[in-house]
């Protein structure tokens, strides 16, 4: 009896204590809800509004959509594969259709685990509604208060929305990694298809990612993603969404990933540069949340051709230099192509592999252009000294006194000297001593002024060697400056954006093509004529050797130590600069042989790109200005052929050089230097 009394007393104590405790807990929770409710974030109504962020779209000049930024494309549940919905429900919240925001049993279990095993992670307690609440409003900080608030918001979401609305919102905002937010984007990124077309194998792989998008990123850890998929498929089978046979079949399939969208990066040097410009102009909010439509200048076909040409060229360079396949560092390259008639940037590649290095060498890498700078020198000399292509100078060793510095003694690339030579041939053969004599006469300042007028913006050193390209410039600047020659002396500022419209198609910005005449068209033509000779007979003749036959002009550039190899050239409608070299100073060199010049690789990349870029264009030659007349000159004396051959025909026709002359110019009239 005594024992029974104690037992009953104890039971009674427990019973009333439990009731009291429950009352206290209820009261506390109510108080907490009352106070926490004030600070809870407001819930948007309707819930789907949260996904409707307008997307910014960037289009190529040729009409293709290049990229969408920021916005999300919510898809209705009817356009999502049921396999994916089932997979998500199975793995994330199999009681989704039953609960009202939380899974009470799992929550109690998680609470128990948390209280009894301090530090152990709470796993699997969050319902889809709770996850939605967390993703929409809360940080990923793990605190009890955050969990509590998340739970309250989940209750409100459940109260104010239907299950379909909640699932729709969840599936359209969930993060899968690799920059993919929302199931449609994820399906496009990972499999290159719509969310409606996902198979069981693909859907289960995708459904496994949100748990840890980084750890299960299939691009980096495909095996882990497959392991996780096994769990998803097992849960789907347990929940009755698929049969054991379907599960087995799905497990056998290894979904093929869509490799072109490996991550959130743009995958394009051009787009990076363009987005930077947009952000500078309009700010992050407008670019990523404004839903603007941008028409870029890039031509998708040319961009593709540039990418291929650079890849092929650098592969040839690797082979030439005998660089093993996985060796590092590897030579890099850059291409910029500009329409000289407008300044529109038609193609830009800033390196051999964007995903390996996002550094845009086309815009940011400043390198010495070497002889590629000589056209600015020759233009200046023609302008200041009234020279022409038949003006004669002497190619011989030269030593120039420089105040406060050792003598400047530039040598020719091949270490040979030709004696008397006309300027057209001096540029064709890239003779350094002639360039040195010219800069000595006209001074470096005048050359710098010409280069700046043409579009070089980098700092150019006021030293004699600037004529030989010792001041560093970017491939973009070279393309821009040469396009001034290509357009007959009219400068068009290069640009990347044709038009910006808002979401309703109203124009925010449009580019006006306005040229500024900066060079004399007749002198420009004389220099272009000499640059044509570089391709036809000079250091760029590899272009003709590989079959590029269109009228074109250009100039090679190789630095003394073979660190940089350039070719910048143009047709009347497209100007392209190519740079090749290592990121860190290192020679482009074939083992046991001389270094690689701009004419060897850069010129061939140029030819391959230009042949593809121009294939549908009519063949056009450079327009000849009204004041230009042609005369045939002897390449040694620079005098008229008739004068040299005593009034008769020249004996050696191949040696005759066609020289464009301005109105006030005559052959054989310039003094010899």
């Amino acid at each position: 009896m005594q024992f029974l009394t104690i037992l009953i007393r104890f039971s009674r104590f427990i019973f009333y204590s439990a009731i009291l405790l429950c009352s206290i807990v209820l009261l506390s929770i109510s108080t907490l809800i009352f106070f926490a409710a004030k600070d809870l974030p407001k819930l948007p109504a309707p819930l789907s509004r949260i996904i409707e962020t307008p997307k910014t779209e960037i289009y190529a000049a040729t009409g293709e959509r290049l990229i969408t930024l920021g916005g999300r494309e919510p898809v209705p549940l009817s356009r999502i594969s049921p396999h994916f919905i089932n997979a998500v429900l199975a793995v994330e919240d199999h009681m989704f259709w039953e609960h009202r925001g939380i899974n009470k049993l799992r929550t109690l279990k998680a609470l128990y685990v948390t209280l009894t095993n301090r530090g152990k992670r709470i796993e699997g307690a969050s319902t889809i509604t709770q996850q939605l609440a967390k993703n929409l409003f809360f940080s990923f900080e793990r605190t009890y208060l955050r969990k509590f608030k998340e739970m309250l918001i989940a209750f409100q979401i459940e109260y104010s929305s239907t299950k379909e609305e909640i699932l729709h919102a969840y599936l359209n905002q969930i993060a899968f990694g690799a920059g993919a937010q929302g199931v449609e984007k994820a399906a496009q990124v990972f499999f290159g298809k719509s969310a409606a077309d996902l198979t069981i194998a693909e859907a289960s792989l995708l459904a496994g990612l949100p748990k840890s998008p980084t750890n299960y990123n299939p691009y980096r850890h495909y095996d882990r993603a497959l392991k996780r998929r096994e769990v998803v498929i097992a849960r789907m089978q347990d929940a009755g969404y698929i049969t054991p046979k379907e599960a087995q079949e799905a497990l056998k399939i290894e979904p093929k990933l869509h490799l072109e969208h490996a991550d959130a990066r743009t995958g394009s040097y051009f787009l990076d540069a363009l987005i930077n410009e947009l952000v500078e102009q309009y700010g992050n909010d407008v670019v990523f949340h404004g839903g603007i439509k941008v028409t870029a200048t890039v031509d998708s076909n040319l961009q593709y051709a540039a990418d291929q040409a650079l890849k092929n060229g650098l592969a040839r360079l690797d082979t030439l230099m005998q660089i093993p396949i996985d060796a590092e560092p590897r030579p890099q390259g850059a291409i910029v192509a500009i329409d000289p008639a407008s300044g529109a940037i038609k193609a830009m590649i800033g390196g051999r592999d964007y995903y390996n290095s996002e550094y845009n060498r086309a815009m940011s890498s400043r390198r010495q252009p070497g002889s590629g700078f000589k056209p600015f020198l020759y233009y200046t000399a023609f302008e200041k000294l009234n020279f022409n292509g038949a003006s004669v100078m002497v190619d011989s060793p030269i030593s120039i006194d420089v105040v406060g510095s050792p003598k400047w003694e530039p040598r020719n690339f091949d270490n040979s000297y030709r004696g008397q030579i006309i300027l057209k041939n001096a540029l064709t053969d890239s003779v350094n001593t002639i360039a040195a004599r010219l800069v000595e006469k006209i001074g470096p300042r005048a050359i710098i002024d010409t280069a700046k007028l043409c579009g070089i913006k980098s700092r150019l050193d006021d030293v004699l060697s600037v004529a030989l390209g010792t001041s560093e410039v970017t491939p973009f600047e070279m393309a821009s400056a040469y396009s001034t020659f290509a357009s007959g002396g009219v400068r068009h500022e290069p640009f990347m954006i044709w038009r910006v419209e808002d979401a309703f198609g109203r124009i925010i910005y449009e580019h006006l093509v306005r040229g500024r005449k900066v060079l004399d068209p007749e002198i420009t033509y004389q220099v272009v004529d000499m640059m044509k000779s570089v391709i036809d007979n000079g250091s760029g003749r590899s272009i003709r050797e590989i079959g590029f036959t269109r009228p074109a002009a250009g100039k090679t550039g190789t630095t003394d130590s073979y660190n940089d190899a350039w070719f910048t050239g143009f047709t009347p409608t497209l100007c392209t600069a190519i740079w090749t070299g290592f990121d860190r100073i290192k020679k482009l060199k074939i083992p046991n042989q001389p270094g690689i010049t701009g004419g060897k690789i850069a010129a061939t990349i140029w030819a391959e790109f230009m042949a593809e870029a121009m294939k549908n264009e009519p063949i056009r030659d450079f327009p000849i200005p009204d004041g230009i007349r042609f005369e045939k000159a002897d390449p040694i004396s620079g005098c008229s052929v008739a004068a040299v051959s005593g009034g008769g025909e020249s004996k050696d026709v191949s040696r005759v050089v066609n020289i464009p002359l301005r109105k006030n110019q005559k052959l054989c009239s310039s003094p010899k230097y």
């Binding site: 029974l4 974030p41 819930l43 459940e158 407008v286 949340h289 925010i508 040229g515």
Partner: protein, 296 residues
């Protein structure tokens, strides 16, 4: 009042345990728990309560932040569009280039149609018009069919006007200086006061009689180039008492001032005359000994 006592028999214990109040409390608790598990009324109650407070709560959290960014972007773009619309309206309603230049602020732009441009162009004096763009060139630009629109861009100093083709290529560009345009337009308005009040006429003010005597001695074609807008003088009320010659030539024209007196009030009207014709007139005025400028 009965004091509580401990039951002495098990039956008493059972009776007490299963008393009405105990059963009621137990059943209530069980009902609450079971009904909650079955019907989730706690969640619904809390959800309903929170929904009732929804509008009073702050718009915080990741989703609202994204919404704010969208909203800021929307406002930014809306402002640009509004400014553009205002500039376009201003451009279409402008009655002079000076008005156009002061209506389109730096950074703003607007398109104007050819007819409107023509109206504005024809409204300015021929000399200023020729300085802006030669009439022949304008005729060619408009008649060639290559111009699709005229684009005006506001600049700190005034306005840049571009004649564009369908590819947005600028065929011709005109730079309009706001101050200059205002000066040109002002120069054609009536000045209330005397010629002596305008320093630019200093030393070149003549009695009307002397001025017209000298003028009428000139051949008819020269007179036509001097008094290019006789209607303006004919329409003016009052008596013409003095005439003056401006001290500066602009684009081949020199301004002439004519002072009228009406009811004791003086006004000066301006006319632009061809420079070479003015020199001929000046020569006539200085050759005649009695036609000296009025000292002032």
């Amino acid at each position: 009042m009965n004091l509580w006592y401990e039951p002495t028999k098990p039956s008493e214990w059972l009776r007490r345990i299963f008393s009405f109040s105990n059963l009621f409390i137990f059943l209530m608790a069980a009902t609450l728990i079971i009904s909650e598990l079955r019907f989730d009324w706690c969640e619904l109650m809390v959800g309903r309560y929170l929904s009732s407070l929804n509008d009073l709560r702050p718009e915080t959290g990741a989703v609202w932040k994204a919404g704010e960014q969208s909203s800021r972007a929307h406002t930014f773009l809306k402002n640009i569009i509004e400014e553009r619309k205002n500039a376009a309206r201003y451009a279409q309603e402008s009655t002079s280039f000076a008005e156009l230049a002061s209506g389109i602020l730096p950074g703003q732009w607007a398109n104007i149609d050819k007819e409107h441009f023509k109206r504005l162009y024809l409204a300015i004096p021929p000399a200023a018009a020729a300085e802006m763009i030669q009439p022949v060139e304008l005729i060619w630009l408009f008649s060639s069919g290559s111009i699709t629109r005229i684009f005006c861009e506001g600049k700190p100093y005034g306005l840049e006007i571009f004649f564009l083709n369908s590819e947005n290529r600028a065929f011709h560009q005109i730079t309009l200086n706001r101050a200059k345009m205002e000066k040109i337009e002002k120069s054609d308005s009536i000045f209330k006061g005397s010629l002596e009040d305008i320093s630019e006429f200093n030393g070149r003010i003549y009695e009307a009689e002397d001025f017209f005597k000298a003028l009428l001695k000139l051949p008819q074609d020269i007179v036509a180039d001097l008094i290019t807008n006789p209607q303006k003088l004919l329409n003016q009320k009052g008596v013409l008492i003095k005439a003056g010659i401006w001290n500066e030539a602009v684009s081949g024209y020199i301004k002439l001032g004519f002072e009228f007196k009406d009811n004791g009030n003086s006004v000066v009207l301006f006319i632009r005359a061809r420079e070479w014709a003015v020199w001929r007139l000046t020569s006539n005025l200085t050759d005649s000994s009695n036609q000296k400028p009025i000292k002032n």
